[in-house]
Symmetry: C2
Subunit: 400 residues, 2 copies
């Protein structure tokens, strides 16, 4: 086993070799899910003025304030600031309006009766000084750091970008990825299936996973078992893409022309074979322009496990994303482990009534069986050891 790379070594080697893909400015409507590559500070105080919080009136508070107030005008949301005249006066206000000059109390419409050009306070209305006023800068002051490089843009981050005038936001460029399958036995989903053939599915699964990560520039290519065609297509794909994900692996088979085609383009092996099950045959290399080549194993479960455990996080981290916290789960049932290899076991996860994240292992019938994967959310990672990982033990979990 000495020639196998460990799971943590493989992770570190990939991280070390990943290039940066640069950054670009995009409008907000296409920014969700992207990795932020700038910091964002408050454009102004939030709120930028003393802001009325209720529909009603604004007036001046005093301990012995009048119960009848003359309507001297209106301060609607969006209007420039008005001033309250002297005397027993008020201004009509709407939620979101500036607090008029000279006012320090807002009384909601529900506590008022209109009487001609006056408002009369309800009997049980006991206004307090400063009530229903959202004070300038009480959320945050101008210049406050709100967002930092490396955050992924979700609804809350998008709200802050919009609220602070960032109409075009600096985000990481998404790599251009080609998912490449090889092999004469593989038939497209819409073609008739001949004797000895199966349908391609790993490429569809991996594309779907990358789509969930927001990667939009994903091409799919199939290369037939022909030496010249393989050489030409690999050369062209390495020219046009940042990342190649080979979904059929790199084997020792005499009809596997991929290793020679990669070598002819100057792609250097970084590692081949990881001390893990499934997914041992995984291969990783780097091209002369920093192109990244992941060769995922051909077995469907292995391909999806390796894409999820290595390729997807690497593509996000290369965009500058801050590493998310690792998830830990409690095994609901014992799981067979391997004496020398890290085991990946697909599992359904769900929190129990104690807030524990429980993992219910869903073993495959065979190494090629992916029919049970839809009942799972990902897989647990179990270190090598004798016998079994007992029920109740804690393990790291990786989501599809």
């Amino acid at each position: 086993m000495s020639e196998l790379t460990s799971v943590s070594q493989a992770e570190a080697l990939i991280a070390e070799h990943m290039p940066s893909f640069g950054s670009e400015r995009v409008p907000l409507d296409v920014a969700t899910g992207r990795v932020l590559r700038q910091s964002v500070r408050a454009e102004h105080d939030h709120p930028p003025f003393d802001r009325v919080m209720m529909d009603g009136i604004a007036t001046r508070w005093s301990e012995a304030m009048p119960r009848r107030l003359h309507i001297a005008g209106a301060q609607m949301a969006g209007m420039r600031r008005q001033a309250l005249p002297a005397g027993d006066a008020c201004l009509e206000v709407t939620t979101g309006a500036m607090l008029p000059e000279g006012c320090d109390c807002v009384i909601p419409i529900e506590q008022l009766q209109r009487d001609g050009e006056d408002y009369v306070l309800s009997v049980d209305c006991q206004p307090l000084a400063g009530q229903f006023i959202h004070r300038r800068a009480s959320d945050c002051a101008e210049g406050t750091l709100l967002l930092s490089s490396g955050m992924r843009l979700g609804p809350a981050e998008m709200a802050l970008l919009a609220a602070n005038g960032v109409a075009n936001v600096e985000v990481a460029v998404m790599p251009s990825v080609a998912i490449v399958s090889t092999g004469d036995e593989l038939v497209n989903v819409d073609e008739p299936l001949g004797e000895g053939q199966i349908r391609r599915s790993n490429d569809t699964a991996v594309r779907s996973a990358l789509q969930l990560d927001g990667l939009a520039r994903v091409a799919m290519e199939h290369i037939v078992d022909d030496e010249a065609a393989t050489r030409d297509r690999i050369a062209d794909l390495l020219d046009r893409h940042d990342v190649l994900l080979l979904s059929g692996g790199v084997s020792m088979g005499q009809r596997d022309y991929v290793p020679a085609a990669l070598a002819a383009q100057g792609v250097q092996k970084v590692f081949h074979r990881i001390a893990q099950k499934p997914g041992k045959p995984m291969w990783f290399g780097i091209g002369p322009r920093g192109q990244v080549v992941f060769a995922l194993p051909g077995n469907p479960v292995s391909a999806l496990v390796c894409a999820t455990r290595y390729a997807r996080p690497a593509l996000l981290m290369a965009q500058g994303m801050l590493a998310p916290a690792r998830e830990y789960v409690v095994l609901d049932a014992e799981v067979d482990i391997h004496p020398m290899l890290v085991s990946f076991m697909p599992a359904r996860v769900q929190t129990d009534a104690q807030g524990r994240l429980m993992a219910y292992p869903v073993p495959s019938k065979t190494s090629g069986d992916f029919s049970s994967l839809p009942r799972t959310q990902g897989f647990v990672q179990l270190p090598p050891g004798k016998g079994k990982a007992p029920a109740g033990s804690v393990a790291a979990f990786y989501r599809w």
Copy 2:
């Protein structure tokens, strides 16, 4: 408080009034994230033939099998089935090939030496009958139910669709949604900010949330405070969309022309005001053609909480999605709760070393403060009660 709708009543009333949006067939490249609206059975046995699992040779096993085998031909992946001749013969095979007729043992290339037109087994090679053969139907038999209506299509589901020849898949039609903001105080992200104005941001946040749910047909509209314009725009939007999400709420203010415009189009109120904090002013109604109208509160935290707690799940369930398991978290710190209202508290969540999903509350400084939301993943839901929910208690969690 008697006129308030409870959180669970609000959920039930929304579910009861949501229309179905129908289904449609889409190609696989745009199917990720969609809700499946058909069942999928195995197109054929998986694998469809006895399948070679290693590059090497296939031969006939016996207790006293020869150590030298003549190469009688090759059975490559994708080829029609060959037959092994009589005598001390073998066929070269590659991973994924059909097992040739007359063979019941595959020997990997690593355990063989080539000698002219023969292969010689290595000294330590002790082949077993049936080894390295992935038997027909061992993953699953033709006709096995693999996917059911209501599943959301992720990488594993996509792999099964592709592997079983479903080139175009029946999925729920996504509703067409208009996010509508109102108010003269609201300025677009790329416009200069005048006195008394703030930038629109709720609509951007809600659009981002819907985009994360895969909803592609989302329009944004802003309506100024004008009675005729509001009436015309609301009528047009109800004509063209299945769902309206009003991001500024429905108020009692005299300049709020939205309630009258909705009523003029026959939109009936289902409920107004929920016994919750924040988000009490939420309004929900149904138009004459089954159009759904959510009026989210104007406060940014409230708007995002209500979109997440009510609108997003309702739009997914209306597509026929099976309800996901509820998440439960353990409070890391005590949280103030309200005596009569359900409290929603934004929180960061992370599993601890015991596999417990811990929630670290992130209170807002004010009801309008959304600057701390990027540090959170969602919010806990706490029932009404006296005092505080203590550290260590378990609560339901909803992710942004």
